[in-house]
Every structure is written in structure tokens, then in C-alpha cells.
């Protein structure tokens, strides 16, 4: 049993290595395009940083965080976003095309997990510089906090994967819906709107909306709750929720994916 598991893990790791090599070669083939992509990502991340830097010129507190605390949140959200962009975004962006043009047939027939194949074929190498820079930015922002307990960073080992599971399952589920509809560009629009909820600190939402963002559409788990765990006294029920959430989300996603596949009737379904 354990032998089987290790064989499966080895198989997927070797596949992932092959995907990475292929993506690296593909991305570096057009070097100018690659440089501009990297630069564009820096512009996008800068917009998020500049927004709050400008706002804090005119106020000292937003929600209940000062500028130093808000920087931790922003760098954390950008760090998590960069991981998501590296691992999954190019695959999800071409998901609806795969459905519409019928190339999903080919992916479904391969002798590996279809969800893995659909979500991991392409790796965005152009986001790697952003990953390192936002990671360094997070460390810098934490170093600005007086008496920060660096052991708190261990919470991120649980909470970042939890936040990533929210992004992965949310986007995968929305994309799966494209199997049901004919043209589903709107799913991308919905995703970008929903994802904006996670780009702002949860302290700006109050009451019912905040509860929804923690438990129903858990975008607060992307960065707000992890940032709270770093900046405030630990909330153990939040940590427990962060551990349970990925299991619930992946269970629901698998059910929904199988449901959507029932509607698939090959090309242009």
C-alpha cells in the first residue's frame, strides 16, 4: 500500500518536473516577451503597494492596522498570489479554451488524474522573480515590527496552503462550470471580482460580510487571517479552520468536477 503510494507520488513528481522543464523552455523561447511579462507583474504588484502607501499618507489606521502592519498583509497577499500564479494561473486561463475547442478530450484520456493534468500542465516561470521579491518584502515588513516573534512564521506552513486551496478550488470550480455553458468568458470576470475580496484586509468588512468571507467564500483565508495570526495574538479556532478547510474544499470540488463532467459531450460541449 505504502509502496503504491510512493510510486504514485514519484510518478506525479517526475511529471511535474517534465512540465516545469517544458514551461521553462517555452517561456524563454521569446525572451523579450518574457522580460515584459516579468516587468508587467512588477507593475501589477506595485499598484497594490502604492495604493496603501498613498492612503497611509492621509490616515494612520485602516481597519485596525497601521502602515507597518498593512505592509505585512500586502506582501503576504502578493506572496500567496505569486505562488498561485506560478503553479496554476496559466492552466486556468486556458481552461475554457480546452473545453470549447475539444482539447479536454485528450487530457481526460491520459492515464493520470484529470484535475492534476488540467491544473498543472503549464508553470508560469515569469512569476518566479515576483515570488522571491514578495517573499523578501514580507520578511522586510515583519522586521519593521517591534518585538515580532519569528516563530509565528510556522503558522504560515498551515495557513498559506489553506489560502492556496481556497484559490485553487474556487478557480477550478468556476472553470468547471464552463463545461455546462457554451461560452464562459464571464467566469474569468467573476473570478477576478471575487479575488479582489482577498486583496483587501478583512477588517474593512464587518458583521455578516466578514463571516461570509471566512466561512462561505473564504477569501479571508488567502492573506487576512494568516496576517492576523502574525500580527495579533493567535486564534486557535482560526488555525483549526485553516487546517480543516482544504479537506472540505477538495471534497466539494471533486464532487462538483464529476458532476460537471456529466455534461461534457466532447468538443464544443
Amino acid at each position: 500500500m505504502s509502496g503504491n503510494l510512493s510510486t504514485v507520488i514519484k510518478k506525479y513528481l517526475s511529471l511535474y518536473k517534465a512540465f516545469f522543464k517544458a514551461s521553462l523552455v517555452a517561456d524563454l523561447e521569446y525572451r523579450l516577451n518574457f522580460v515584459f511579462l516579468v516587468f508587467a507583474e512588477f507593475v501589477w504588484y506595485s499598484t497594490q503597494l502604492i495604493l496603501f502607501e498613498v492612503l497611509y499618507r492621509h490616515t494612520s489606521i485602516i481597519g485596525n492596522w497601521n502602515l507597518a502592519q498593512m505592509r505585512v498583509f500586502i506582501f503576504l497577499v502578493l506572496f500567496v498570489d505569486s505562488i498561485y500564479m506560478i503553479l496554476w494561473d496559466p492552466n486556468f486561463s486556458s481552461f475554457t479554451d480546452n473545453v470549447r475547442k475539444g482539447s479536454l478530450d485528450l487530457l481526460l484520456m491520459k492515464p493520470i488524474n484529470s484535475m492534476f493534468m488540467l491544473s498543472s500542465q503549464r508553470i508560469s516561470v515569469s512569476h518566479l522573480p515576483c515570488f522571491f521579491i514578495t517573499g523578501a518584502g514580507l520578511i522586510w515588513a515583519l522586521a519593521q515590527l517591534p518585538d515580532f516573534n519569528w516563530y509565528k512564521l510556522f503558522w504560515l506552513l498551515i495557513l498559506i496552503p489553506s489560502g492556496l486551496s481556497v484559490i485553487f478550488c474556487g478557480r477550478f470550480a468556476l472553470n468547471s462550470t464552463s463545461i455546462i455553458f457554451t461560452r464562459a468568458d464571464f467566469l474569468q470576470y467573476i473570478w477576478y471580482s471575487l479575488f479582489r475580496l482577498g486583496l483587501r484586509p478583512d477588517a474593512i468588512y464587518s458583521g455578516f460580510v466578514r463571516i461570509i468571507l471566512i466561512f462561505v467564500l473564504p477569501f479571508a483565508m488567502v492573506a487576512s487571517i494568516p496576517a492576523r495570526m502574525l500580527l495579533e495574538p493567535p486564534s486557535y479556532w482560526m488555525l483549526a479552520w485553516g487546517m480543516i478547510l482544504p479537506f472540505i474544499l477538495f471534497y466539494l470540488l471533486k464532487k462538483y468536477w464529476n458532476y460537471c463532467l456529466r455534461f461534457y459531450s466532447s468538443a464544443s460541449s
Binding site: N33, T47, L55, R57, F186, Y189, I190, S193, L194, Y205
Partner: protein, 272 residues
């Protein structure tokens, strides 16, 4: 002369109609694009500004009250949607890179006007439908909006769309010289987002930076029209916006002419 103008007008009207019909074909897509996405964005930005004003001293930020910022937050995402081009620019780039531009080159119309009219048709239909939301919100919450300034404000936004389309044309012509130009679209649009004032009013930025941004034409897409509409700026600011777009149009027009002429000459017709 008169006949040729009528032919030009009819041709472009048909193309604008094509842009409208294409986008209304999938209504659910259209509703999400024109309503739901900007409404969600407005909701988040309004909540952010309310949170900021909870701790603002004197109830003023940068000399303006909460309602001024709410008005800005309600309108900015809608104007931002109009003043940017993702879909048509991607289509233009694809035409050049894939070689399907051949079908347009052989017709008695230019590639520029073929997509300009479609873009304007799309922008008009999006504007007509989506503007009901900020208008209704401004009226219902009694936000500081000068309704008599709407026509001139839209005049500047549409003029700015002409500039944005010219920039899209430049990006598309780069397809004659390079195989992959997708990153140019991404970089251009993100830069417009950053410099246009959609995220935060430009007058809140450091003075030196704000002055530079106001000289650039990009502030004419969101900040200047909104400043004029909500009373943050006067008519002088609006005319500066028109002026900035004019020189930028002249510059981009010249650049696009050079790139297009050279590009078409070396284009082989079976794909760039």
C-alpha cells in the same frame, strides 16, 4: 466627396453594430462584464473608503469629505472599464500574428477603422447599460456629482478611448516584427491602470508625482473626468485633459503610421 463620406459612415456604422451585436450575443457574459464585475469592485472600494474614514481626523482627507471619495469610488471602476482595451486589442494582435489579417487587408477599409468602429460600438453599449449603476447610486445616496458636467466628461472619455485604440493598434503592429506580443498588452494596460487614477485619486499622491501624472495623457481616462464630475477639479483641468490626449494622439498616430507602413511592407501574407 459626399458619396465617399456616406460610404465611410455606413461602413463604420455597420462595424459598430457588429461590435454591439457580438457583445450582446452572449447576454450573461455581457451582464457580468458590464454590471456584476464593476458592482463588486465598487462594493469593495466603498467599504475600503468607509474603513479609512472611520479614523480620519476632521472627517476630511486631502481636503475632501467622505461623500467625495464615495462618489469617486462608485464611478471609477465603471470609467476604468470604458477606458481600457483588453478584448479588441487581443483580437487585433491575434489577427496580425496568425496572418488572418489578410482577410481585412483585401477589403476596402483599413484595419484601424475596422476595429475602432467595433470598439466604439462595444464601448457605447457597455456605457449605456453600465452607467445606470453609478448614476442610480449617486442619486440614491445623494453623492456630490455635477450632473450637468456629464456630457463633457463623456466627451473626454470617448476621446481618450480613441487614444487607447491607437495604442492598441501600435501593440498589434508590433506583431509584424515579433512573434509574441501578449506581454505588451498586459504591461500597457497595467500601466494605464496605475497612471490613470482608478485605484486612488491622483490628488492624494505626493505633489511632485501628481503633477507629473497630470501632464501625462493617461489621467484623462479616469481621474480628470471624475475630478471634473465630482467637483475635485474645474473646467480648466478638463481642457488640460483634452490637450494632453491631443498631443498623445498626434504622437501615437505618427508612431503607428510608421510601424504599420514598415510592417505591412515586410509582411509575407501567410502569417507574420
Amino acid at each position: 466627396m459626399k458619396t465617399s463620406f456616406i460610404a465611410f459612415w455606413r461602413r463604420n456604422l455597420a462595424l459598430a453594430e457588429l461590435g454591439i451585436v457580438t457583445n450582446l450575443e452572449y447576454r450573461f457574459n455581457f451582464i457580468i462584464d458590464a454590471f456584476i464585475q464593476p458592482v463588486l469592485t465598487v462594493g469593495i472600494e466603498v467599504l475600503l473608503w468607509l474603513a479609512i474614514f472611520r479614523t480620519a481626523e476632521n472627517g476630511l482627507i486631502g481636503g475632501f469629505a467622505r461623500e467625495n471619495y464615495l462618489a469617486y469610488a462608485v464611478w471609477a471602476p465603471f470609467l476604468g472599464r470604458i477606458a481600457i482595451s483588453w478584448m479588441y486589442e487581443s483580437m487585433m494582435v491575434e489577427e496580425v500574428v496568425s496572418g488572418s489579417i489578410n482577410t481585412i487587408l483585401t477589403r476596402p477599409l483599413s484595419f484601424f477603422e475596422y476595429y475602432l468602429s467595433q470598439t466604439l460600438g462595444y464601448k457605447v453599449v457597455t456605457t449605456v447599460f453600465s452607467m445606470t449603476v453609478p448614476l442610480a447610486a449617486s442619486y440614491y445616496f445623494d453623492l456630490p456629482v455635477y450632473y450637468d458636467r456629464l456630457p463633457l466628461m463623456f466627451g473626454l472619455v470617448i476621446y481618450y478611448v480613441l487614444l487607447v485604440h491607437t495604442m492598441s493598434f501600435i501593440v498589434a503592429t508590433l506583431g509584424f516584427y515579433l512573434t509574441r506580443v501578449r506581454s505588451f498588452t498586459l504591461l500597457k494596460n497595467l500601466t494605464l491602470l496605475l497612471l490613470g487614477g482608478e485605484l486612488v485619486p491622483i490628488d492624494l499622491m505626493p505633489k511632485a508625482l501628481a503633477e507629473v501624472l497630470l501632464i501625462l495623457p493617461f489621467s484623462s481616462g479616469v481621474y480628470i473626468p471624475l475630478a471634473y464630475l465630482t467637483g475635485r477639479g474645474d473646467a480648466q483641468l478638463l481642457w488640460n485633459g483634452f490637450f494632453n490626449v491631443t498631443w498623445a494622439l498626434a504622437f501615437c498616430g505618427l508612431l503607428s503610421y510608421v510601424l504599420w507602413s514598415k510592417g505591412v511592407k515586410q509582411y509575407t501574407g501567410t502569417g507574420a
